[in-house]
Amino acid sequence: MSFELLEKFRDPDLCRRILDKMESELDRELRFMEVCGTHTVAIFQSGLRSLLPDRIVHLSGPGCPVCVTHESEVNAFLDLAGRDNVILATFGDLMRVPGDKGRNLKKAVADGARVKVVYSPFDTLKLAKENPGDLVVFIGVGFETTAPTIAATMKMAREQGIDNLRILCFHKTVPTALDALLSDEAINIDGFILPGHVSAIIGVKPYDFIAEDYAKSAVVTGFEPLDILQSLNQMIEWRNRGEAHVANNYTRIVGEHGNPKATEIMYEVFAPCDALWRGLGLIPGSGLEIRPEWEQFDAKKQFGIEIKEGPALKGCKCGDILKGVKQPDQCPLFGKACTPANPVGPCMVSTEGSCAAYYKYKLD
């Protein structure tokens, strides 16, 4: 999309008009949650958060793939870094994620581990070909957005006879996590801003249960200020009429059925499994694992990796923050023991985490 067109979605006058309309139509508090790190950052970075009416409460849910990667998964890839004949390939955001004993990938590199930051999983094919004597292990974290490209990479590796590529599969799926959140009685959310990238793959249907089973609204939304304001405005209108709907406002990118080819490839290679989420714990059926017919690529099998729940982080309120029960600055560790330089909990780990965004962008 051209930048000129994108600019139209940032029109300050139009945004102001929608903000005024929302303000006049809000008869009580509206608590909305977004579940995508890009939305978290977009809301802060654009300055939108400072302009929202006081009665709109913005909550950031479990939408940052780095944040929800379980500590046991982090320790697993850190254990692999530095092993003989292993080259770890990863997206950049995992480089600083802390594991136990103060470890992270940046420190591992300083100690001599071979870690390559890639921009696309396809880059691992070249890496594997260039290093025939080594195992290239790609750290597969993220949601439905990244899983299909990794599946496609595995298919291409098989076609090209590349036998030294492995995938450490820690993928998670968004709708299952939302279902788990909504079934928790402690949470108090009026509506969801649904992720644009994930929905471009899975479409809108997988979210229907939000309105049908829980009578809450949810809108698939783009990342520009007008996209977000339009969805919030819609949710206010529906609530005022006593209705709940699931809709797609990001039609310039997201088709009703998503990208069937991508989901087909994803489920050809991966199967649903139980998964541990950092801060949320075990959510049945919310992960993806490599199917037996693709196990030649499975790094977990090759290295005998097991993911287990460890002791809870002392004082950290990330679990409550990811559920929208608490805001980041209500955590006793926020900005003190827990900062982006020295993150304790998952939400401070990635630049797209809600605590990190609070710390980075929020004016007192």
């Binding site: 940032r10 102001r16 970075q45 300055g47 400072s50 600083r96 949601f143 962008y361 007192d364």
Partner: protein, 328 residues
Amino acid sequence: MSDKVLLDYGSGGRASQRLISDLFLKYLGNDELDRLNDAAVLDLSGRIAMSTDSFTVDPIFFPGGDIGSLAVHGTVNDVAMMGAVPRYITCGYIIEEGLPMADLERIVQSMGEAAKHAGVKVVTGDTKVVPKGACDKIFINTTGIGEVIADPAPSGDAVLVSGTIGDHGLTVLGTREGLDFEAKVQSDSAALNHLLVKLVRELPEVHVLRDPTRGGLATTLNEITKSSNVCCELTETAIPVRPEVKGGCSILGLDPLYLANEGKFICILPGEYADKALEIMHADPLGQDACRIGTMTDANPGKVVLVTQLGGKRLLGMLEGEQLPRIC
């Protein structure tokens, strides 16, 4: 000379002598350097500004410059930012065994041209050749020295920037990773001292001159506000960023405000002189895109606040480390 740099060339023996006379003196030579004494003896007066920097950029050649010109521009600009006229620089080379001699020649030639253009003399230097793997191709340290002609002193003023932001950082990152952007970006690496001296000489008062190199505009402004305990309020729409840099950053998930610049400076001065300063900058090719991007205020001491396109306000903080590309 061999077509590759060998360990012999750093030994201090005949091979070293040949490298010095055939290459370094050829491109960098001047009456002081040509003496090849153990130390340079310099004429300077008044208060002196001095700065040192080591350059390890990868790749060593990139669109708009190379490690040689960058090593001159970086240090010359640091000295000039203190309101000083850079006069002399030193060069220390650490070269990895096996570097093609043609690459070294290209780098030294580029340094000579950059120094000549900046009006500084290379007055002393050193060369070490280290075994393969002990460094990455070539590292260069330069130290610069100059005479101070203005006093930096932050206060509540107009904030100007001399041109577009992020060009160098995105170019180096793009070249290093072999990314081919649809629209070409290139480094802005340039020596700014002539324009800076002009500003300081022609304006009654200039409080701060800084080059937003590593960490970019946002980091440099944070350093200024923290050290002077004032707030810098920036207008997002006024900050000049080339569309192609904006586009590249958007694809890679980077923020141009945190990308390095090597040919730009921030100028903070009393508001009444802002127009005159812009007039001087606009008359120079290195300042033709200069504009006013903000104002120093007392609202949030020590912080940089960005007034966004929407009219919202948010913090523009320091980065934790280097920017890293995101998952999605």
